[in-house]
Symmetry: C3
Subunit: 364 residues, 3 copies
Amino acid sequence: MNHLWKEIRQNPILWLLALVPVTFAAQKVSPESHTLLFLLAVLTIIPLATLLSHATESVSAKTGDAVGGLLNATLGNLTELIIALAALRLGQFTLVKASVAGAIVANTLFLLGASFLLGGLKYHVQDYNRVNARLQTSLLFLATVAMIIPSAVASGGSEMAPDFMQKLSVGLSVVLIVAYGLGLVFSLKSHRELFGSIEEAVSDEAPWPLNVALVTLAGVTVFVALVSEIFVESVQEAAVTFGMTPAFVGFIVVALVGGAAEMASAFSGARKNRLDLSVGIGLGSAAQIALFVAPVLVLLSYVIGPAPMDLQFWPGAVIMVLIATMTAIIVTNGGRSTWFVGVLMLMVYLILAMTLYLLPPGGQ
Amino acid sequence: MNHLWKEIRQNPILWLLALVPVTFAAQKVSPESHTLLFLLAVLTIIPLATLLSHATESVSAKTGDAVGGLLNATLGNLTELIIALAALRLGQFTLVKASVAGAIVANTLFLLGASFLLGGLKYHVQDYNRVNARLQTSLLFLATVAMIIPSAVASGGSEMAPDFMQKLSVGLSVVLIVAYGLGLVFSLKSHRELFGSIEEAVSDEAPWPLNVALVTLAGVTVFVALVSEIFVESVQEAAVTFGMTPAFVGFIVVALVGGAAEMASAFSGARKNRLDLSVGIGLGSAAQIALFVAPVLVLLSYVIGPAPMDLQFWPGAVIMVLIATMTAIIVTNGGRSTWFVGVLMLMVYLILAMTLYLLPPGGQ
Amino acid sequence: MNHLWKEIRQNPILWLLALVPVTFAAQKVSPESHTLLFLLAVLTIIPLATLLSHATESVSAKTGDAVGGLLNATLGNLTELIIALAALRLGQFTLVKASVAGAIVANTLFLLGASFLLGGLKYHVQDYNRVNARLQTSLLFLATVAMIIPSAVASGGSEMAPDFMQKLSVGLSVVLIVAYGLGLVFSLKSHRELFGSIEEAVSDEAPWPLNVALVTLAGVTVFVALVSEIFVESVQEAAVTFGMTPAFVGFIVVALVGGAAEMASAFSGARKNRLDLSVGIGLGSAAQIALFVAPVLVLLSYVIGPAPMDLQFWPGAVIMVLIATMTAIIVTNGGRSTWFVGVLMLMVYLILAMTLYLLPPGGQ
């Protein structure tokens, strides 16, 4: 643990780790101070995310950017899975679906757009492996089809038998999970040689030893999950204090704070000209949520939920996911990035966020 | 006919040809045994499709894969045209439209996806001429626009004057036929040099002489048409026995069995690393149905139908065709295929098929 | 002005310039003769457009095709801005929006499609700089998202608070203008080396001196604006005489005549194998209208309008703009053009135009 300790002493941001016990204490003492808990949680997540980012980079230095990105995406989504499971157990399906759709859109547009922008401000033109980008955007497209088709085919949507939607959701969930699994076989096994990084990273600092990195990864992930739960519990009430609509909170704020750890890694990758790491985290995480987390939640709802959850989303959410997917397909087609590509993606995200921010409470 | 005879003796599948007279006899003797006729028709179509596939390959060995694919697509669609004409004469417009849309989707997603998968299981990476793929998907996109725009522009769709839809359908039909004709001029004449095959096929067996192949093609096509008619007549009633919904039968079962001949050729091409043949058959057939068969049916309905047919499709069908077209555009953009590309396309098809299978009868 | 005079003597089309004073006189004397004024205006716009085209080419011979295209697009849209401002002052928001959407579609599909066709009839294959095409189509995609999202997210559109739509429209307008400005910084400054022309033009005629060209540009633009206003005033009434629907006039006729000057330049560029000029004019003009002219009109409506205008378009218009954008994205992806690509784009435009032409008056 010497490496970890040295890192903490050198990096002032990590001193915020001292807030971790404070946050847990505050929750015990005063569980109703939502605004305080909200601010503490946000401040605590930042150093944890930084630590997670550093550990991931150390691991991916050994495994390559594709595996490193997958690892990072999986750990990042573990948090979201934990949060969603809590909501699922309480039967809050709308919250679960909003956080799933919001995370897909945030990872695709915000995380990737900001990575392109941050990288582009430092490097004139950046190239990345477009094979991986294509695989992930194709998977996202498949998930989008699975979101669109139930409501589209059943044109008279309102009188649909709920039985139909339940059976269909289970079937679609199995299809998506199988597709995701085959995608892993394809990218990590049968055609792994296509998924190498474009730019060989030259690490400027010595990475941690593998065991330190892995233990840090596991431990910090647990803390992130615990703090995230405090965050989710306090955010809705705190949002009212700040004058935000529930749609904006569920779709934008939760997704951005919940994805802080992944963003820290992705942005750091982009600034080091390792855009393959950023693409792997952003699109990989979005695809994983769409093709693995969401379907697993549907299937688990039969075991742990008060009632089964289906895969039918609010039409506005479907359109936002569709727009995010189409943007990613159009933008990553060439495997080349500049700052303006990042601006474009962020602008699309800004349009979605602005619309949700202004949406009157009943409009959703 | 010596070649043909030799082929039949060597290939056990072709021994099923003995069922052809049995099927015709059964229809004469017991036209109400729908389930028996259904099974006989399916078993009879298999050897006929195999024969058709072999004849097509012999012809395309002389003409090149692009022309061979077009020839195969045209003969395959001849069957569908014959069936659709019968339905048109009876005024069964819903059946005609379902079979048209179902054939477009099946050729684009199932035939091509299965070709990519079968080819990819044998070859690590396969390249094909993306110029032809782009031409066909662009034509499909044009046809999709023609399907979308009437109902989209007329936002108050239900109160639309039927007169408007009739005139528009005739106009759109002429536009599509002209575009298809110009596409043939482009690919077969003015820019034919762009449409050559990527991989030069090395035939492992001596092809039939051209006249044997052509006579076989013509003769077998007639038999396929006759058996297909028995199949279509029996399928709806047999489907009830097997517990399938009418939407599933019209869209999926009819399209898959009706396209068996083309599929046999396309799959065989993919296994021989002649993916240009598969792409030419799959996308070429879909484009031909969308831009030639469907418009011709609209125009012919003024001559032979009890009433004129329009080009307005059930919204679910329009969305399925749109999804199939977008999938083809995204997937064939690079001109390169692996097994996973095939899996993705088949998964999209599976999602559509599953939705239709579960759709309650009134939901369409 | 010697160059200008010499040009006029040599080119018989320019003799129609004699009609300019006739048109203004006719408007003074008989402002109610709509059909006469309509015909005079169309005949007058042709030589003015020719002159504008020649002046633009002289300027772009000095500045390069990218800047030349931008200059041409801006001057062409100046006309449309002037006309729209007049309509805005009168509170005719439907006319303003129809002309904005119509101009986007006409520039994307008709101007570019006809350029590809005209160029392709002379040259077998033409290449152009696809970086510029991608930038412009990405900007168009962003604008399309801004058009789609308000009505999409607010699924219960009709009961939407008008207050929400007003605030959102102002926010979206600012986002679009900022994106357009950053796009100019990107293409003209930070990454200008990516936007050079593919084919170096070999001018067959000596260009005018820069000062003559610029003075001609400015002067002719003013005349075009004045004549356009006469055209717009007379077109609706004249259209009834010719049996056209208002939707067709607002969307198609106004856009085609209003864009005559840009078309003359774009077609001339295509015939001289300077397709980068055509792409720059067509897509550049469409992007400018969508991301600059339309948002500026929204913001100006707070200053000069009788009431604020929002960015919400008739659903049919949104779909047409979406189709135009998707067509441009699909078609310009490869940076290569043939006559058939032009045919395809024109066919899509023809389908839209035909639908609007046949649409019963109440159907919009």
